[in-house]
């Protein structure tokens, strides 16, 4: 018994849960203990702002794994527990109820939390919610149903803000999105797509307002007034904050683990501390394909890094070199992204129709990324061509009549 090793995982979401099952699959014989402060059996996060919100679905239909699978693989799921401290010398972690748990290997899968900007009056405002976990959605639903006028203001026009706007619109809300930048999705995509999504939302009746830096929220009874720097104001029964995340790095930084825009990990998912790994949204890592350090917020990254960490811990040297991919669903629009477009210097639009097209991003002749709208074919070929480092005939590519199979030059 005494030589049974224990792997402790902090965070039981996409990264932590996939890691635990991957570790067992790779042959780990010891204990696996997963801690999460969330009390709900681990679930998929992407639907929270999409189908789950819109269809008022139950979390039971969105579990990452059924509870029996944890039992079957002998993974201890310890929910509703906040890890408050790591002691790297003693190789223990401490919960905020004082419980001590020792580990041989520690995995940080602490992800991120929603960032709440310091807007004047936000603490006193009524029905203000972020959207990161199932409890947030439960609170949003409750406030939404209780409100008479169903006036919703979404602060922040990123993916989560826009998906939430679309879902609530479908539920019959009156939705306004306030974006500080001059276009929505400014941080994550190019003007072409921003214009496209502005049109889609406007067509569905969502008010998209840009250049709206929110400075104050005034609250009178149950009514909020959201006030912007330009003096404009918007009434709101419910306010959704979607202005980005803050990475949960505190546990690691307190014990001197190197932090750099996230918990820094090497290509094997190991942190600066021997025996401590980090995976998922909380990591700042090297992407070999793009020769760049990145922090990604995606299911793909959480799952793939989890597998890499599991293999390395079980003595199978593996490096992370996945091609990033991402999706977003709004109304009947499916956006699929493959690759990282940062640093592109030219792009090609392949236009099939108004609601079906793709944008191909290049640096010189090198294909970096593809954004596709209702166009899985472009997404799939983009994936193949990025992986193959293929040189493409851009003229052919731009012509939607040409077969994507025939556009390779080299």
């Amino acid at each position: 018994m005494s030589n049974t090793k224990t792997c402790v995982v902090i965070g039981a979401s996409h990264a932590g849960v996939n890691f635990a099952f991957a570790l067992r699959k790779e042959g780990w014989q010891g204990n696996i203990v997963l801690f999460d402060k969330d009390e709900t059996i681990p679930y998929h996060r992407p639907p929270l702002s999409k189908k789950y919100l819109e269809l008022e679905d139950s979390i039971q239909n969105n579990l990452l794994k059924p509870i029996e699978s944890y039992e079957k693989d002998n993974i201890t799921l310890s929910l509703g527990k906040v890890v408050s401290k790591i002691d790297k010398e003693a190789k223990t972690i401490e919960l905020n109820d004082g419980t001590i748990q020792s580990y041989d290997v520690l995995v940080l899968a602490t992800g991120a939390r929603a960032f709440v900007p310091p807007i004047q009056g936000i603490q006193q405002a009524k029905n203000v919610f972020t959207l990161r976990n199932a409890t947030d959605v439960a609170n949003i639903r409750k406030a939404f149903h209780a409100s008479e006028q169903k006036k919703i203001v979404v602060i922040g026009g990123g993916y989560i803000g826009l998906e939430t706007a679309a879902s609530l619109k479908k539920l019959g809300a009156n939705v306004t999105v306030l974006e500080r930048e001059e276009r929505i999705l400014a941080r994550v995509t190019t003007p072409y797509l921003s214009t496209f999504f502005t049109k889609i939302h406007t067509d569905y009746g969502v008010h998209i307002c840009v250049n709206k830096g929110v400075t104050e929220i005034k609250t009178n009874g149950n009514k909020n007034t959201v006030i912007c720097a330009d003096g404009s104001s918007y009434e709101a029964d419910v306010i959704i904050i979607g202005v980005g995340i803050k990475v949960n790095t505190e546990l690691a930084s307190e014990v001197g683990i190197v932090i750099n825009n996230g918990i820094e990990v090497d290509p094997t998912a190991k942190t600066s501390e021997e025996g401590v790994y980090a995976i998922g949204d909380c990591t700042y890592h090297y992407n070999k394909l793009y020769n760049a350090f990145v922090r990604l917020e995606s299911v793909q990254n959480a799952v793939d890094q989890a597998k890499v960490a599991a293999a390395n811990i079980c003595g199978k040297p593996t490096v992370y070199n996945a091609l990033p991919w991402f999706w977003s669903d709004q109304y009947d629009i499916k956006l699929q992204i493959v690759g990282l477009s940062q640093g592109f210097d030219n792009s090609v639009v392949r236009f099939e129709d108004e609601n079906k097209f793709s944008i191909w991003y290049f640096k010189g002749d090198r294909l970096l990324a593809v954004d596709s709208i209702n166009n899985a074919k472009s997404y799939v070929f983009g994936t193949k061509y990025i992986k193959a480092n293929a040189i493409l005939d851009k003229e052919k590519l731009a012509n939607a009549e040409s077969d994507l199979k025939t556009i390779v030059v080299n």
């Binding site: 998929h44 969105n62 059924p66 999706w327 669903d329 799939v380």
Partner: protein, 102 residues
């Protein structure tokens, strides 16, 4: 109710019964190995790839355009391939047999 049989890569045969939802959800909820369902069933990840038994092709019906395109991501895809998050459970598919990819 529909009975669905999965044949996993370790040649294990599991028969499950479902009333509604997607075949992927049924498989994940019962821990069928090889069906991950990473995207939660929105046809974005291709980790729910199965091969439909020839006798059942008609019962299951055709894949949509997006599903057909996404299947091209899987190297081993063929004319029997489906992403099972896109197969809805109903009486109509009772008795089908699916082989889990890889």
């Amino acid at each position: 109710m529909a009975k669905i049989t999965f044949i996993t890569s370790d040649n294990e045969k599991v028969t499950l019964e479902g009333a509604s939802g997607s075949v992927m959800q049924l498989a994940v909820n019962n821990g069928v190995s090889g069906i991950d369902g990473d995207c939660g069933g929105v046809c974005s990840c291709a980790t729910c790839h199965v091969f439909v038994a020839e006798k059942d092709l008609e019962k299951v019906g055709d894949a949509s355009e997006i599903e057909t395109d996404m299947l091209e991501l899987a190297d081993e895809a063929n004319e029997f391939s489906r992403l099972c998050c896109q197969i809805e459970i109903s009486e109509a598919i009772d008795g089908i047999e699916l082989t889990v990819a890889k």
